[in-house]
Amino acid sequence: MKRFFDAELENFRSHLLQMGERAIDQTRLAMRSLTDADLALADKVIAGDDELDRLEVQIDEEAIRYMTLRGPVASELRLIVVGMKASHDLERVGDEATGIARRSRKLAIEPRLELYADLPRMANIALEMLRDALDCFVQEDEHKALSVIRRDPEVDNLNRLLYRRLTSFMIEKPETISRALELMFISKSIERIADHATNIAEEMVFLSKGEDIRHSDLTKQIAPPGDSAPPLPGNGK
């Protein structure tokens, strides 16, 4: 049976998706401003963060309104709760993207360090995770969510690797320390974006199954069927 307030739930959903798209875009553009040393693009990313903040407020507002007036239970309740959390994660993703854009502005006016190659790779994985997590939201596919969660260590490893390389680089060439530190922070930001994607994926599992899999071994035990993901590099978390 359709209810007159079903549209509100649909709006809520689409705003969340819209926010996800926006966060992905922000991250991608921030990375491009870094690789292309595009100052204008970086400025746009920084300015565009307001939009994400606004969306987060709006989603919270809608969620509270829905909880207040419609008395959600079961899957609706999970959607509302998950929506609030996911919007917070996405807002943080936006903040990280803004951080990357700020740092890429600083780096753009300085000589380039040849250590960029790993960052886009990391960023691509993080973006892919984010995208998949959002797809889970659309499809309510908890197996895909689990695959997102399993990819997080990959980004962690890359981050750690880069950290080591940048450390030795800084020891060798102390004049690059400030630039290398920026890169280190950017790497950390990307790693954080992947973490947020993992959070969102966990929330999506809660949304579709009603089980909280955070801080559990579940992610390791349940292998998605036909999972063809390559073995994770390094030794995981």
């Binding site: 209810r3 809608e62 008395g71």
Partner: protein, 277 residues
């Protein structure tokens, strides 16, 4: 804020209308102004003042005996039927006219202010006769016109498809929820401006309740609705504004979401959160 150069990113987020503050342009159809009401020596309402907005659903909530039903019944002067019950002070104006003015024709008033009762009370007549009752007592005899109004009213009450094949069967053969929607259809058949509902769902199961609530939501396009309810979820779901009464006084009257999320009065807070007294 300027449009970011970012590609894609679907349309700009739309502002959800319902989240916006009350439409200040909404016209107050019913103005209740400092009304006192007594049943004989006992005072039931104290200095009630509130304005009910056009084409909005206004909910009256409060514990039993708080005066919410009394106030509702003042709005179409159903209280006139009770011996010794009378408005002892203040005015109730509908479209600017004080309905307790001696020149006011109560019959005319009740045609404009329809009412749906707590216990669904279809007359033990056919569905058709129930709907046409209000028109027939006004002397309408044109069969074609009556047929047309029956169909329109039943459609308006989302009941047409369920009963169109048994219009001439007894209304008492319908389910409880259908009976209540029939009473709503009967009320809208006389084309009132305002519909008063006195706990319309208290005897219905959740599905029937949901249907009536759905109907209320539809009806507010054409009618101003005032609903008394004990079910706070119902007030939250279907009303735009909510008035909380306690011991014959109006404690708080505001946007429904304000009442349920951030009530100004601690009594309201205690009542809506279910820890009263």
């Amino acid at each position: 804020m300027s449009e970011p150069a970012a590609p894609s990113t679907a349309a700009r987020p739309v502002t959800v209308a319902a989240a916006a503050p009350a439409d200040p342009a909404a016209r107050a159809v019913i103005e209740i102004d400092d009304v006192d009401f007594s049943y004989g020596p006992s005072r039931a309402l104290h200095d009630i003042s509130l304005a009910i907005h056009e084409r909005k659903v206004t909910a009256f909530i409060g514990p039993s005996g708080c005066g919410k039903s009394t106030l509702l019944r003042c709005l179409n002067r159903m209280n006139d039927l009770i011996d010794g019950a009378r408005v002892t002070g203040g005015e109730i104006r509908i479209d600017g006219v004080n309905i307790y003015d001696p020149r006011v024709d109560v019959i005319e008033l009740r045609k404009r202010v329809g009412m749906v009762f707590q216990k669904s009370n279809p007359f033990p007549k056919s569905i058709y006769d129930n709907i046409t009752y209000g028109l027939r007592i006004q002397g309408m005899k044109n069969k074609a016109r009556l047929d047309e109004i029956v169909e329109r009213s039943l459609r308006g009450a989302a009941l047409w498809d369920e009963v169109k094949d048994r219009l001439h069967e007894s209304a008492l053969g319908m389910s409880g929820g259908q009976q209540q929607r029939l009473c709503i259809a009967r009320a809208i058949a006389v084309e009132p401006e305002i519909i008063l509902m006195d706990e319309p769902c208290s005897a219905l199961d959740p599905i029937a309740t949901a249907k009536v609530e759905e109907l209320i939501h539809e009806l507010k396009r054409d009618f101003t609705i005032v609903i008394v309810t004990h079910n706070m979820q119902q007030a939250a779901r279907c009303s735009d504004r909510t008035a909380f009464f306690y011991l014959g006084k109006l404690v708080e009257y505001a946007e429904t979401r304000t009442i349920f999320m951030n009530p100004a009065n601690p009594q309201t807070e205690a009542y809506v959160s279910g820890r009263f007294g």
